[in-house]
């Protein structure tokens, strides 16, 4: 008899514990879900976008920052002036800023942070941001001059990246585990594999955020992502992993579905160092064999915008060059015949994200339609980085280049894809130093036309930022000018 009493007790307990699972949201608490967990929490020492998605603007701030609309704005620097000769910039720093551990922020700290980020052998993932910096000089407690080896029109923008945020000499080394910044939220705890919790900082210099607690929960499984949202376990999924689930969420008025832009140009990169991809006709044939709209419909469920070059459609300098390599299977076959490559067999290396794996299956089928024997090979990121990206052992690969304003990669001689087009190279070189906005616009147009014309890569689509959140939430970013979840302006409305 005892046994059955035990069974009954257990069942009652089970019912009791499972009942209150979707608690009413508290007005100052936000649970925000992310697909990937960061390896550590120091934005200045790693490439993982997930680091910035937790810490950028929330915990760490730079001298400048990027706003939701992509504009560069003052942050820990209140203003700056560029010298006449374009070879130095002077920054006035904000007064009364302290780190979460109480250490003050000043010009010495700023110099330390910049020197640390740009040092030889530093773990910084974006050394090109600091490439033009000659040295950093402290002019006074709150004044700093950055001297440049060449004009760099993008300096205020470069300093707004998560890789250039301000860290204190006393806490910098421990930031990977216990990040200490100057932002409106301070780090509370990190339960690995589960979530990072931030709480409001009482010592913040600026306007205090409405939220008191923000939890970043890691939900790697796409099915759980949808279920967790529907069950109310999480309030927001700013980068929702499964576009196929959107119809259900859009039909439900409890949720806001927002399809915004990112800086992620998704391309089918072509290894033009290798025959027969060094033949422009083969590259053009590959581009013409791809039906971008079918790829977008099949892989992204229609949520993405097609691109014809490596510049996002929301960029002021964007021009539509998708027609240059429009879908034309007969043209593709004719080009292949002209190039005399019969029985061309190619392998498409596919890194883990769903956009790559899904697009890959569709593109392989489209290439087979024009007589190219295409196969796919799924790879993990580690192998992709070592074999494809550094080893350049690949035919084709699909990846989204998520860094903002990154056309410069087409000028790198040792990059995993490369162009021989001299006009393109010259335009890119000129863009590097050109300060005049109109001239930059013209150069960017040339760049896009030449990229499409040379068919450096097959340009597929701009990765969308699919955000889904509780309809009562306001203030989440619609677009992603950089990978970040700035929650400082988020609040619950009734």
């Amino acid at each position: 008899m005892k046994r059955f009493a035990f069974v009954a007790a257990f069942i009652l307990t089970a019912v009791a514990v499972s009942a209150p699972s979707s608690a009413q949201p508290q007005s100052d608490r936000l649970i925000l879900a992310m697909a990937l967990e960061p390896p550590h929490l120091d934005p200045t020492a790693g490439a993982a976008g997930a680091i910035d998605e937790i810490l950028y603007a929330n915990v760490f701030e730079g001298l400048t920052r990027v706003l939701a609309n992509g504009a560069v704005a003052p942050a820990l620097a209140t203003s700056w002036t560029i010298a006449e000769d374009d070879l130095s910039a002077t920054f006035m720093l904000r007064e009364g800023v302290t780190f979460h551990d109480g250490s003050p922020f000043n010009a010495e700290v700023a110099k330390f942070a910049l020197d640390r980020a740009r040092a030889d052998g530093a773990e910084n993932a974006q050394p090109q941001l600091f490439a033009a910096i000659e040295d950093v000089v402290v002019d006074g407690p709150l004044q700093l001059t950055i001297r440049l080896s060449r004009p760099d029109g993008d300096l205020p923008y470069a300093l707004a990246w998560g890789d250039a945020v301000m860290v204190h000499p006393d806490s910098a080394e421990a930031n990977k585990q216990t990040p200490v910044g100057t932002g409106p939220f301070k780090f509370e705890r990190w339960r690995r594999g589960d979530r990072v919790v931030l709480v409001r900082s009482d010592t913040y210099w600026g306007e205090k955020p409405a939220l008191n607690t923000v939890e970043f929960a890691f939900i790697a499984d796409p099915t759980v992502a949808l279920a967790a949202l529907l069950a109310g376990d999480v309030h927001a999924f700013p980068t929702f992993p499964t576009p196929e689930s959107l119809p259900i969420l859009e039909a439900n008025t409890d949720y806001t579905v927002s399809i915004g832009t990112t800086e992620g140009e998704t391309i089918l990169a072509i290894n033009s160092r290798k025959a027969p991809f060094d033949d422009i006709r083969v590259r053009r044939a590959i581009s013409a064999a791809i039906d971008r709209q079918a790829v977008i419909d099949g892989a992204m469920y229609g949520t993405a915008t097609p691109i014809g070059a490596h510049v996002p459609p929301h960029d002021p300098g964007y021009i539509d060059v998708t027609a240059v390599n429009a879908y034309d299977p007969s043209k593709a076959m004719a080009l292949l015949e002209e190039a005399q490559v019969a029985d061309l067999s190619v392998e498409i290396a596919l890194p883990p994200p769903a956009y790559a794996r899904r697009s890959g299956e569709i593109i392989a089928a489209q290439l087979r339609e024009v007589g190219i024997d295409a196969s796919v090979r799924p790879v993990e990121w580690a192998e992709w980085l070592s074999k494809v990206f550094r080893g350049k052992e690949f035919d084709l690969t699909i990846v989204a280049h998520t860094e903002p304003a990154d056309v410069g990669i087409y000028a790198r001689p040792d990059y995993y894809f490369a162009t021989k087009d001299q006009v393109l190279k010259d335009a890119l070189a000129a863009l590097e130093t050109e300060g005049d906005p109109n001239a930059r616009m013209e150069l960017l147009k040339t760049v896009q036309t030449r990229m499409a014309d040379d068919a450096v890569n097959a340009f597929l689509f701009q990765l969308p930022k699919i955000g889904v959140w509780d309809a009562r939430l306001t203030g989440l970013w619609q677009n992603a000018p950089l990978q970040a979840n700035d929650v400082t302006g988020v609040s619950w409305s009734e």
């Binding site: 796409p222 099915t223 949808l226 499964t242 196929e244 689930s245 119809p247 259900i248 079918a294 419909d297 099949g298 596919l350 794996r357 890959g360 299956e361 569709i362 392989a364 089928a365 489209q366 087979r368 339609e369 196969s375 796919v376 090979r377 799924p378 790879v379 993990e380 192998e383």
Partner: protein, 267 residues
Amino acid sequence: MRLWWSALVLAVLLIGALVAAFWTPHAIDGVAIANRFASPSRQFPLGTDQYGRDTLSMLMAGGATSLGVAAAATIIGVGAGSVLGLMGVAFGGLGDGAVMRISDVVFAFPALIVAALLATAFGPGSINAVIAIGIFNIPVFARLSAASARRYFQLEFADAARLAGKSEVRIAAEHVAPNIAPIIATQAATQFAVAILAEAGLSYVGLGAQPPQVSWGRMLAESQTLVPIAPQLAIWPGIAITISVFAVTAFGETLRVRLDPRRTFEA
């Protein structure tokens, strides 16, 4: 009765898989986005999937992989395991002890962990799934064949064979092996069922079949985010796995009863 229907289902599954290795009603390497999520029709009896491919053809091709991997892994287990177990007993003493100890060691590695290690070293794939499940099957058959073989080596016919000058290895091959074959066969059916489930689990977590290869586990994994809009895509492979495992196990159970009436322990 049970023998007949389970054998029939099993035959249909195996023939379907065998056919699919060479031919499917529709091509499975083409995509037709415009025709995705189609309802069942005369042309597509089970409808189409998220890429507009015929679900029936996908199920058949998936069965070829899933059942093929499971069968290969079982054969590895039966082959290597029975030989090891028999030889261990034939050589007796140290040989027996060594085989049993190694079996204990290997048995502590679940197939999933072996697959994870293989995938880390060589990348995931069906071959690695076969090896992982096969490795895990070896100690099962080694233990079983040794346990069943021991008493036969002590029976009169073994002594007679020894007097006739036959070696222990020959006795094992000529006299013991035929006697333990029924037990091995019934266990093979059980392990085949286990292997089907293992393959599904491995492919589901990404350690088994890789695109463009289709398998039931991969179909489950790929369709799970589609459950709210196209539940049939997740339900079909689930049913295929369940029916296969059910039929194989039922067949094995019937065999067990028929071939070895003394073993009533589980019947």
